[in-house]
């Protein structure tokens, strides 16, 4: 959404810059159980955005004073690897990463039955391997798989996707170029079978009507991603090419 003198045309002949229809997801890849040590892990790719999620826990909390008497604490860290974006990212945690760690944790909290594991911690590490838009929602989608892989009891999976407004049109699953030159970016995550929205952010400008439409489009995408998640948990690996 930055202003730039060289904004490319993002919609040509009713198609998006990468040839997709407005409501079309990028090719999706999901692989569950990719690490030996982590209790659960998954890699999810939406197009060129590729994110690793790893889960440890429920396990003992250190330092102990962080523990809660009535539930597990969830600890969550979202990170961009230094070479994952076009410009090298300094390894010090950015304000953006700190904010996203929080909203991602809050997107996952409603799904985890943390009341079953008082005085423990469930640690979620999200590492962006390659960033091409939608890293937070891809990360949430991967983290839900990693949690399931770790055997953490959940009310539902959580799946996420970003809707954007580009050249005046609402489009599903925006990539980096659409994010950068578009008018709005709205990441949404939800527990699909329960109809519960657990992450909702808007960065950009929408009318009231556009917002309602954008939210519906996001939820439609989330339901598709949810089906892939369930399949990936059965098969340990799935891509939309196959599907």
């Amino acid at each position: 959404m930055g202003s730039s003198s060289e904004k490319p045309q993002l919609i040509i002949d009713g198609k998006r810059i990468d040839g997709r229809a407005f409501d079309e997801l990028r090719p999706i890849e999901m692989e569950v159980g990719v690490l030996k040590n982590a209790d659960g892990s998954a890699i999810v790719a939406f197009g060129n955005t590729r994110v690793l999620a790893a889960v440890y826990g429920p396990r003992e909390v250190m330092p102990k004073h962080v523990a809660l008497a009535d539930r597990a604490v969830i600890r969550c860290r979202y990170r961009m690897l230094s070479f994952s974006a076009e410009e090298r990212k300094s390894p010090a945690p950015s304000r953006r990463e700190i904010e996203l760690s929080k909203v991602i944790r809050e997107a996952l909290e409603p799904a985890i039955m943390s009341e079953l594991f008082p005085r423990t911690t469930i640690d979620i590490f999200i590492e962006v391997l390659n960033a091409d838009g939608g890293t937070r929602t891809t990360g949430i989608t991967a983290a839900a798989l990693a949690l399931a892989d770790a055997g953490v009891p959940m009310r539902d999976l959580v799946a996420g996707v970003a809707v954007g407004k580009v050249d005046g049109k609402l489009v599903l699953d925006i990539n980096k170029v659409e994010d950068m030159y578009g008018e709005a970016d709205m990441p949404v995550a939800a527990m699909p079978s329960l109809g519960r929205i657990t992450l909702l952010q808007l960065n950009g400008v929408l009318t009231h009507e556009e917002f309602v439409e954008a939210l519906a489009l996001a939820l439609k995408g989330i339901r598709k991603i949810y089906e892939l998640q369930k399949e990936a948990l059965r098969k340990k690996y799935v891509t939309t090419e196959e599907a």
Binding site: S3, C76, G195, R196, T207
Partner: protein, 277 residues
């Protein structure tokens, strides 16, 4: 690492009592669910700041200040000023706040305000170049929460908006045509900082199944989630942030947005009247 915060324990009895009040269409302090506590906005309270505002919503108090510095533009916007928003929750403001650098809550608050100012182009950054491509105004917005009685975001946004709208730009004394060095005179402030439009945020809390605007501290403690909606004076939605460990249904989101659009004009009017020249 973001970590599940410790929650105050609310006795079931008290929780039910609160729900009973809400069921009557009232906040626990008796105002209707869709109205704010009393709002006060005082501008120009810090002489050394180019703009400043002290805002209270009920007992919540926030002080925001604007400082203008001469600096370099970003490479991708060479002819525009630079806007930087920071927030700090002073340890004076609550027994639970610790001294130290901003935590994730303060960072989130600053970033939500930053986006709500940046996306709708609240500040006319394109009018803040001094030597195009080389020297521009850097607009620092610093927000300090002084007393915490709930709804820090909306109070902080009011303070930031009022501090910006009341800020005046120091006089540019000279510009060296060769080096691009700029001399300014901070003692002489001239034009108002150019503002394109006014924006506010409206935070809607979900308590049980009730949706209420401007939750106070006690209400926040029992809210399962909050949705902040940034609204511009033209009624467009210019930002949104779900906060808290709970969720919203699609219907609840739509209702919350409706509430926000309904109450926003009164907040924007309050800012405007506080910054009248």
């Amino acid at each position: 690492m973001s970590i599940t915060p410790e929650q105050p324990v609310i006795p079931k009895l008290k929780y039910n009592a609160i729900l009973n009040v809400l069921a009557k269409g009232q906040h626990i302090d008796k105002r209707p669910l869709n109205t704010y506590r009393s709002i006060s906005i005082k501008t120009n309270v810090v002489p050394n700041a180019e703009g400043s505002a002290l805002v209270s919503i009920g007992s919540t108090q926030v002080l925001a200040g604007v400082k203008l510095d001469v600096g370099q533009p970003y490479a991708d916007t060479p002819n525009e000023g630079v806007l930087i928003v920071n927030a700090e929750f002073l340890p004076a403001a609550s027994p639970t706040f610790e001294p130290g650098p901003p935590d994730e809550n303060a960072i989130e608050l600053a970033r939500v305000i930053d986006r709500s100012l940046r996306e709708p182009k609240v500040v006319a950054l394109d009018k803040l170049a001094i030597v195009p491509g080389k020297k521009v105004w850097i607009v620092w917005v610093d927000i300090y929460v002084m007393d915490h009685d709930g709804n820090l975001l909306d109070a902080s946004m009011l303070a930031a908006m009022a501090a910006l709208a009341s800020a005046r730009i120091p006089r540019v004394v000279s510009v060296d045509p060769n080096t691009g060095d700029v001399m300014i005179d901070r003692e002489t402030r001239e034009d108002r900082l150019p503002i394109n439009k006014y924006v506010c945020t409206v935070t809607v809390a979900k308590i049980g199944s009730y949706l209420v605007v401007d939750p106070n501290l006690e209400e926040e403690a029992v809210a399962s989630a909050r949705l902040a909606i940034s609204v511009a004076e033209d009624g467009s939605i210019v930002g949104m942030q779900k906060m808290g460990m709970g969720y919203f249904t699609e219907d609840e989101v739509k209702k919350a947005v409706g509430l926000a659009i309904g109450v926003a004009p009164s907040l924007i009017a309050a800012i405007k009247s506080a910054v009248q020249p």
